[in-house]
């Protein structure tokens, strides 16, 4: 027992701040002790840079009142133009920013805010309520969140934590990509979102280029340690995510590009596993992160498609051109998509069949009663 505790002390003693971290905090303290005066509020840590302490306190007091009254909860669903929208952006999001004490958590929070703003644009566009002013205000907010994201990522990079930079950047890329897809779909019926769609496209390009740069740095950086245990956790998470996506993608009709993206995620997952087997943990981490990013993109796209009830590729495209069109004769064509992934040594095969009864499509009178039957089967086949 004594030996164990001595051993704990011995092993734990090796845990210390990196010399760069220790000297940067020391420099901060040296300048702090030169400036600090009695009975003043201590200078905040550089990681608390959004508001002054006084603003935090005021925000916290108002937040407590709002939360207590249920206003804060109700405001979560507010969109620009609603009376509770300012509660959502000033109080709810102010509290979230306050609680994110590290640059990494702050970057994550900013990604969430960017996503929320894009969802608001999409919601307004689908309702036909996206005014020029609202679009301009939301675009401005998105730019501010992106700037804040970059500032935080820079802080993480200054600490030579390229692994965390890669994770945070991948999350933003995933979210921007998903909303670029959704906005493109909306712009086909509602051209007014074309401007924001092209802005998001250029943001995606910038973030992708940065992520690739970070990936390269991470692959060669001396300080980028990857531990087998944490990779195992990542592997399980990604497998779970992709596994859940298979069935969801198969259940939506007319968005074939999503199946292709799931296949891309599966390919990255398989490559990651291969690198893991070869004990190349850094490359495995990069590939797991790729799989996570792509599957995250699909998941977010699906969420928006479902929430906004977005139409996919018109079903008529799957109809045979030569199909006879006689009243009373039902002719059916079937479109089938299959996603097959190997997860946890099992093969998950998800198949969706979409049957369109063409007789109803030919007859405009009976079109009102046209039926689209969707059957979905999910089977797990052991891969021995």
């Amino acid at each position: 027992m004594k030996y164990l505790l001595k051993q704990l002390y011995k092993e734990a003693k090796d845990i210390r701040m990196r010399s760069s971290e220790k000297s940067s905090t020391r420099s901060f303290l040296l300048s702090y002790i030169e400036q600090a005066a009695p009975h003043t509020t201590p200078s905040p840590s550089p990681y608390f840079s959004y508001f002054s302490i006084r603003t935090y306190a005021a925000t916290a007091i108002v937040a407590v009142i709002m939360i207590g009254s249920g206003i804060s909860f109700a405001a979560e669903w507010a969109i620009p133009g609603d009376r509770l929208y300012s509660v959502k952006t000033n109080i709810n999001e102010g509290v979230k920013s306050f609680l994110a004490v590290t640059p990494s958590a702050s970057a994550e929070i900013q990604t969430g805010f960017i996503e929320t703003r894009l969802q608001e644009i999409e919601k307004l566009a689908v309702r036909g309520e996206l005014t020029e002013d609202a679009q301009a205000a939301l675009e401005q907010k998105i730019s501010a969140h992106i700037t804040e994201f970059k500032t935080n990522v820079q802080k993480i990079e200054n600490r030579s934590e390229s692994k965390t930079v890669l994770e945070r950047t991948s999350e933003l890329e995933s979210s921007l990509n998903a909303h670029m897809n959704v906005l493109s779909k909306i712009s086909s019926v509602n051209p007014e979102v074309g401007r924001v769609a092209s802005k998001v496209r250029s943001d995606v390009e910038e973030v992708t280029a940065y992520r690739e740069e970070v990936q390269e740095k991470f692959a060669t950086a001396h300080q980028s340690e990857v531990r087998g245990e944490s990779l195992e956790v990542k592997r399980r998470d990604v497998e779970k995510k992709i596994g859940a996506l298979g069935a969801r993608v198969a259940a939506v009709i007319g968005h074939p590009e999503l199946s292709e993206r799931v296949s891309d995620a599966v390919r990255s997952l398989e490559e990651a596993r291969k690198f893991m087997d070869e004990n190349n943990l850094r490359q495995a981490f990069i590939k797991f992160e790729d799989a996570k990013r792509i599957s995250g993109e699909v998941e977010l796209t699906l969420n928006s498609i479902e929430k906004l009830n977005l139409p996919g590729t018109p079903l008529e495209e799957t109809k045979s051109v030569d199909a006879p069109c006689e009243a009373g004769v039902a002719t059916s064509t079937t479109s089938t998509s299959t996603i097959s992934t190997t997860i946890n040594s099992t093969t998950t095969s998800t198949t969706t069949s979409t049957t369109v009864t063409t007789s109803t499509l030919c007859d405009p009178v009976s079109a009102a009663t046209s039926s689209v039957d969707t059957g979905s089967t999910t089977g797990i086949i052991k891969n021995n």
Partner: protein
């Protein structure tokens, strides 16, 4: 450094001497490297503010740990509690020096899991004693209890660990 007053020199010396131990304690309590670094900085700025406000600090080592402990308690109120297991499994890099990573032996990982399951009052004395290497007298000052109470808690904690490890 040379142009600093003796009080400032003493404070910076305390930082040089105790910052790693404070960091280690914070990391084991919050299981988040970035947060632990922030807590170290906040601990020392609060300590200095206390000093310039004209208040007396008898034992700076015990004082900084006391401040760190209070900040950690505040942090627990703000966010969910985290487990020591996350140090092992959650991908928390506990950087040793320049980029290398500490890997605990299997028996220590098992011991940490056992400590993690213990009530907070036992967990904190064990971490202060066997992770930060503080004597019971200093632990008493940090927690605001007598040295005797600390020794009793340590003994009970060790018995509990023995039971859980079935030694």
């Amino acid at each position: 450094m040379d142009n600093l007053t003796p009080r400032k020199k003493e404070f910076i010396k305390a930082y040089d001497e105790w910052s790693d131990a404070v960091f280690r304690y914070c990391l084991f309590k919050v299981s988040n490297r970035d947060l632990a670094l922030d807590l170290v900085q906040e601990t020392f700025t609060k300590t200095w503010q206390y000093i310039v406000d004209g208040k007396k600090v008898d034992n700076i080592k015990a004082f900084v740990f006391r401040v760190a402990n209070n900040l950690i308690i505040d942090e627990y109120r703000k966010s969910k509690s985290v487990s020591l297991d996350e140090i092992e499994e959650g991908g928390v890099e506990v950087g040793k020096t320049e980029g290398s990573t500490v890997t605990f032996s299997v028996e220590i990982k098992h011991l940490l899991r056992v400590i993690d399951k213990m009530p907070e009052k036992y967990r904190e004395v064990i971490l202060m004693r066997y992770v930060s290497g503080l004597p019971p007298k200093d632990i008493g000052k940090i927690l605001g209890v007598s040295e005797n109470v600390v020794s009793v808690r340590l003994n009970r904690a060790l018995k509990k660990i023995q039971e859980l490890l079935r030694l």
